[in-house]
Symmetry: C2
Subunit: 321 residues, 2 copies
Amino acid sequence: MAVYTEIDDEELDRLLAQYDIGAAVSCKGIAEGVENSNFLLQTEKGSYILTLYEKRVHEEDLPFFLNLLDHLAAAGFPCPTPIHGRDGRALRRAAGRPAAITSFLTGRSLRRPAPIHCGELGAALAELHIRAGDFAMRRENSLGLASWRPLLDSCAGQADSLKPGLNAFLQEEMDFLEEHWPRDLPSGIIHADMFPDNVFFLRDRLCGVIDFYFACNDFLLYDLAICLNAWCFETDNAFNITKARKLIRHYDRRRRLDDEEIAALPVLARGSAMRFLLTRLYDWLNRIEGALVQPKDPLEYYQRLLFHRNAASARAYGWGD
Amino acid sequence: MAVYTEIDDEELDRLLAQYDIGAAVSCKGIAEGVENSNFLLQTEKGSYILTLYEKRVHEEDLPFFLNLLDHLAAAGFPCPTPIHGRDGRALRRAAGRPAAITSFLTGRSLRRPAPIHCGELGAALAELHIRAGDFAMRRENSLGLASWRPLLDSCAGQADSLKPGLNAFLQEEMDFLEEHWPRDLPSGIIHADMFPDNVFFLRDRLCGVIDFYFACNDFLLYDLAICLNAWCFETDNAFNITKARKLIRHYDRRRRLDDEEIAALPVLARGSAMRFLLTRLYDWLNRIEGALVQPKDPLEYYQRLLFHRNAASARAYGWGD
């Protein structure tokens, strides 16, 4: 449900006149990407995605995101490729917003990924980390460990309205994470939002990764921990160790996990569950009654966090089986 | 902003298995059609629109709409063509909703149509009326004259909250329309919602008409009156007689208006302004605070209605110049 800004036909014509992709023959707002307005644009030359960046994406971060896509696409990673205008620029303005056109990726996101898809995901995540290894720009993780305490504080007074005792639970968890968070692990560019709706498949092969607008520098393992949370729990919140095993094994085949990473897996899984629990809790407590976009249930991640608290080691995720 | 029902990948595969259009390679919810959920579906064979019909469309009307599209497309009218499954049926169920797949039309709707587009529109509207002339099914206009009084009554108590005196104005207008509405004019199938967002152009040529979910039997001239309201007023509600002249002249070239129709144009223009004023007023008074889909301003049509009340004859719309 994500078309916040419309673009009219004259403005679209003016925008396309700056590129070499022909004139628009169709342009439809699509329900993809929660943060921005996206259009499936068909021109005389092919299909593209036009994105108008909305306020939740900081304009000063856009060169990082677009250069990263350029870098990854050039390295053969299946992500959208920014289309550059005749002046060489990929980022410009349209309809009063920062705007970019990228290549269109075929493929479909999966509602219910199977173990085979988790294996594909693990391999692609490792490829992403490897291929972004020589990307020159940096972006701090604005939703990393340091951001969670202030986010929790802003929700603290109301957390118990969602579930009695939730605030005390989260405070204790936060103390644990601050104390046990690793100081040093292999770091680099992470996607940081690799949920099933951001990954495309065709006939069980991963063929596209989209929505890099949370990408940043952090521990590489943190990206894998996010995927554990987002891909390896069933709708009843039961953990699926077969999926986790596939995910981790295929990741490790492409990029070998070191001993510190293996030891840190449970705490990073806790941390990434905490991150989504807190942002969902914040959105839940600050939701607008009657809005069409319903915030996601924060307690899903509470359940997942409970699982990770009981994980004694990476073995709980199928490692070493 | 119109994806209310999602369809998951297995369900989509099951649906497509009933057709001869290949497997889905991409399926994206699009912000088109306020009443239904629409997806731009790309298969191995081409592009299509998948529609899941939501509750505001009555299921028993769907055979009328789909057969009408079949009839018009076969007659060469540029509308979506329903795709029939191997069992011959165009209408089936998916994701718990009635569902149909139609051909994809290229083209772009115009935010600011120019006189040339109004001429194209007039010709296409006449073609639609002519080509639907031998369509065998009927559907009453559920938003025709007889529906306006009950709609007004349901808004009467609150109308003045939008504009003081509005209720008395509308009651008086309703009395006038009931007294002066023509009893007999050339009738047939009308589109009944031919707004700019439902009409596609490419390089100033009309190339597609979509969204037939208000189509019904009524006076043909009423469709032209709707277009006068929807296409020939500027954003400041100033009437653009150049656009109206083009619209009416190009319509009349394809289907000759008779004397009764020419005489009835002002009252039908009043009636069609009343219809959109009343449905918008109803949606406005029953809106949900904070909803993403903002109801349209009813008073736009109040302004247009004032114009039509001052129209002494069809001359006010450029007829006979």
